[in-house]
Symmetry: D2
Subunit: 365 residues, 4 copies
């Protein structure tokens, strides 16, 4: 019996996950069989079109009706819709994958993690960048001691889609709908990779900034206040003694989607950029400079499923890998990471950054 | 009624095209509907497995039975199988897409192009690199005069999978099965892009080289002669007065799949590398240096079908674009390029390069 | 009458400035004539050798005897020798160029700046990176409005010469001799460029770290404590509203001398790395990507004094430009920047970073 | 007694060598002492100014008077002045350094090499790029077997100063004054590095091209014919079995001084670009990608004479190294390479390229 999947949300993330589900059988034949059962949304016409194009069997306009009918629930809606449907699904014993950040507030995230613990089913916070082969390969090098003990972590996520003060207002600019701005949207990814690659964060200092205070709505009829940060920075101390600097912004003119991770340890170093996601720069102890490694060899993470060496993957492949791992965990009843607990751990760091900014103090996580 | 597609070949290229067909409905909803009808091969077990995984309705072991039963025939077999099945399909009035190089010999390519002309149906030589968005964008800049009149073309395709003298022999090392080595395999792509971006080639000088004369078969039981080139180079004069240098090799230690195109004109310049296929380096008349352009904006070629700016595509997307264009031409009865005539034009250049090498003379195409 | 120059210090910085003085006549014929008069140091043998090689007329072992005998005094000794000789020279009415950081402590820097104000003669804090042509060109673009209002500044200076825990102890590891570690040594440069390119800093949060607590002396006979930071980070708010992140470390495995500056504004963006100091990456409003500009054209800053376009300069050229500007100011009695006042302004920021780290609070400069 | 040096030519190359001579004592204290004795030119006013600025003791307007009066003769004039003064100096027993290409014609180069052999004194053809530390380091890696047997050499020298059809005519556009265009000016450097790093060339095919047939003189009063090539390409077979492609052009829009060398061998690979001359990309057998090596360590070639690791050198430093080696050979009476014999060997290759282009045939060197 294939797993039936119910999906809330049919825009950017809905399409990314639907595509991932559709590609599993050809490239991951050992993945559990999956049915795209039901697509959930409010606008019936748009929803019907999307369901047709994305290959869903039916649609629903109320998530309450769905969360206990499906084998797996994907919560891909805007942040303010993360909490209630996810908890309802968990209360129905349905495994949940939820987009990041886990919740608009720390309280919401805690309730979600609690519900996950109570339900005892696999959960996922959709930090898809863990599933970039180059990031998995970085993790492998770190685990193998090639980098040694980490001393420095540098993570920054630079985008430029709000540089123009006249770029239209969206839910991502509202504290009520999104919880935070660049901090939650971009910083969540960076903090997750920091935890994945280096370890837990102990203390943070944070700085948030809103450069443009209000923006016109799409049709230009009015302006609305921007109640979230356009950019954040943070400096962090990891539990293992490493130090780090984080930054995220939607105001970095000329940087479209530049998520850069740099790590230096006692023996080696790593560098990664999302705009060149097939590459990892690696410096091992015997090297005189950083090697530019094309992470597309057969024994690289997930690469045996795809093409011969040198035939590069794209952004969307991270979702295929993520769905493969999560659905396998659901089918096998095994643990999955990054789970809701990981999503909460990230949220605690983000919350500490925001508190530090408010108080002007260093804050423990 | 969906178009029924019959596909000969189920390995690397078979998978690349099957994936492309599978992805069209979600991302190119205006593409004609397609049925993966029949997969053709010789090894019944492997074939059945492949058909199952790649989503074909049935299998066949004799292409003769297939070429007139389907609406479109894809010839994705090794080079020595390009000629006869393609001609048979055309004689049955079936449009054909054939992998490159069009044929192992110039004579074969001429017969295929003749058959295409007689049949009057769309044909495709599968030069998928024309369908990289960055290459399409380069073409746009050239057509718009941003580069001016082209003076220099530099195309090189560097791979390293045969560096090791003990790398196993395959059909790609046999003149009977492949026709040529790096020249046909890699040079065909480079010459096609030269024609696409700059124009027809008038004269060439060529140099071919085989570095390793024999190789062990896979199981090590014997060695077989390498009867094709490991590497080629050429210098060319284009009809429009530009000059060019070409190179292709399977012996370029450290270069896995590095297809680089550089063009300089009277007003600007371009540079592209397949290992970073989302990028085009562009220098316009007003610039002080090359711009690194991430060709992922909504108004970039094919990008409105995919993800937001900065979310990069992979190698396989070129096949989706190629299949979209070819199948649309089949459905609409419109012209398609690169056709068999284009494949033949490329073959003439490759043949001239080989003749020039033999004779030690500059040769007209 | 040539200006007589007395120089305290004959190692790394002594050589860099002596070379600069020696090269002025050939490349900057309008620079004031200069005599390398006297070289000051303690080890008479080493001093004599250095004076001979560096072209000084005589030597002296006591700076007290020198500061009022020369027309210009260069203080290139270790940090703990910056204060007294510089003040003595100023009290004698002698213009002074002092290496960075201006002093080991804020108090020392304040006294030096006071002495400079009282003396009313030109002073220089030797922030030579202002005189990289690419940095001067960046300043020109900022002044011309090409970048718009700055929103983001990112400055990091990564070195790796202390990665090895057995790398020998030197005066740079002593708070008494150096004042601070990476903060003063590397951070001083970064803060100076931040002030030069963006403006004054209003508030900072800082983080300092010492990874290796003691180190062996050169001959291995004993270990000494490391009483300064190995690395620092900071996040800053500029008076004009821009936000910034700073970092400096001697522990960045694989980074030898990587001083990177990135700026994003409302209209454009800039990026610079000291390891490729002839280049500036520039994105203007009309660009689709960063241009890699080779700043070697005749109308680029200082380039009319050197070689044709594309013939790159080295690190040492920054000292030639710096000496040219400072000595011209001395000869003409005009103002010079970066002066001791600028050195003090930098010191205030560094001091605030250290205080913030101690207190765990955001601090005003 | 210092060596007295007489120098013919006081423009670009005159300045580059005068600077090198001036810098030797400070950085290469074991170099022989040198006097900049006499500067030779025709325009007495310009000559006197240059001699003053470049530090020459006196001037002369007739080289005949100089060649036997000095200990070393530097011939830095335009190509058509290379032959006679150099031979006259050699006949007087004076060691000669001559700028490249050695002569405008093969016949002239042969006569110069004959004169050098007869004289038995050190001679130098000024292929300064051999003295880039990264190139010396590449040579070391090749000699040490790190790269294995070379299979591929790729050398191209791209400039853009003649892209504009209205760029003024100069002696470099005249076959009588220069002998050839890009071929001799740029190709000479590339062929020398090919010989230095790979070995002697056996056979070539060449292609020359003039894109702009006439150009205005500087004051615009008339146009003169361009009688040399604007660009050349060549494919070569080395005696040791390697194959190579060469290219040089003054028409490569956007490339100011891009001399790129790429080598692939059975075990490793190298890549170098003059625009980033402190770097060498190296791939050894154990690497997964090219290492970007900053060739500025203390044990790198010539680097112990300069600055600490990571403090980059410029283009002009190659002349310091070249002058150091040549003058040391003169002082010690030892052999020097690249000599006139090397200059002649390069010329034979260039001549073969030109002949191949004329005949449309592959040509033996």
């Amino acid at each position: 019996m294939p797993l039936s999947v119910g999906v809330l949300g049919y825009r950017f993330m809905g399409e990314a996950h639907a595509n991932a589900l559709a590609r599993l059988p050809m490239f991951f034949p050992d993945a559990p069989a999956v049915e795209r059962s039901v697509l959930v949304g409010r606008d019936e016409t748009a929803l019907a079109d999307a369901a047709d194009r994305l290959g869903f069997e039916r649609t629903a306009t109320d998530w309450h009706d769905v969360v206990d009918e499906v084998d797996v629930f994907y919560n891909l809606g805007p942040n303010h819709l993360h909490v209630d449907p996810s908890i309802a699904a968990l209360e129905a014993g349905t495994p949940v994958l939820c987009e990041k950040p886990l919740a608009p507030t720390l309280d919401g995230a805690e309730r979600m993690a609690d519900a996950a613990a109570t339900a005892g089913v696999p959960t996922a916070t959709a930090f898809n960048y863990r599933f970039v082969p180059a990031i998995q390969y970085a993790k492998r090098l770190l685990d193998d001691g090639v980098i040694g003990d980490v001393r420095h972590f540098r993570g920054r996520y630079l985008q430029d889609w709000l540089v123009d003060a006249d770029a239209p207002w969206s839910w991502r600019n509202s504290v009520d709908l999104a919880g935070s701005g660049a901090l939650g949207d971009l910083g969540a990814h960076t903090v997750d990779l920091a935890r994945f690659l280096v370890g837990d964060v102990e203390r943070v200092s944070g700085q948030l900034r809103t450069f443009v205070d209000e923006r016109p709505v799409e049709d230009g009829s009015e302006t609305r206040p921007v109640s979230v940060d356009d950019a954040y920075s943070a400096q962090v101390a990891f539990e293992n003694g490493a130090m780090g600097t984080l930054e995220g912004t939607r105001m970095a003119t000329g940087r479209q989607n530049d998520h850069t991770i740099e790590i230096e340890g006692t023996r080696g170093a790593l560098s990664f950029s999302l705009e060149r996601l097939n590459e990892l720069r690696v410096r091992t102890e015997d090297d005189r400079g950083f090697q530019r490694v094309l992470v597309t060899d057969e024994d690289d993470p997930y690469l045996d499923h795809w093409w011969p060496p040198g035939h590069v993957l794209g952004w969307e492949h991270t979702f295929v890998h993520e769905n493969y791992e999560f659905l396998s965990a659901v089918a096998d009843g095994t643990a999955y990471s990054p789970s809701f607990a990981d999503g909460l751990a990230v949220q605690r760091v983000l919350d500490a950054i925001a508190r530090s900014d408010e108080r002007g103090e260093r804050v423990s996580v």
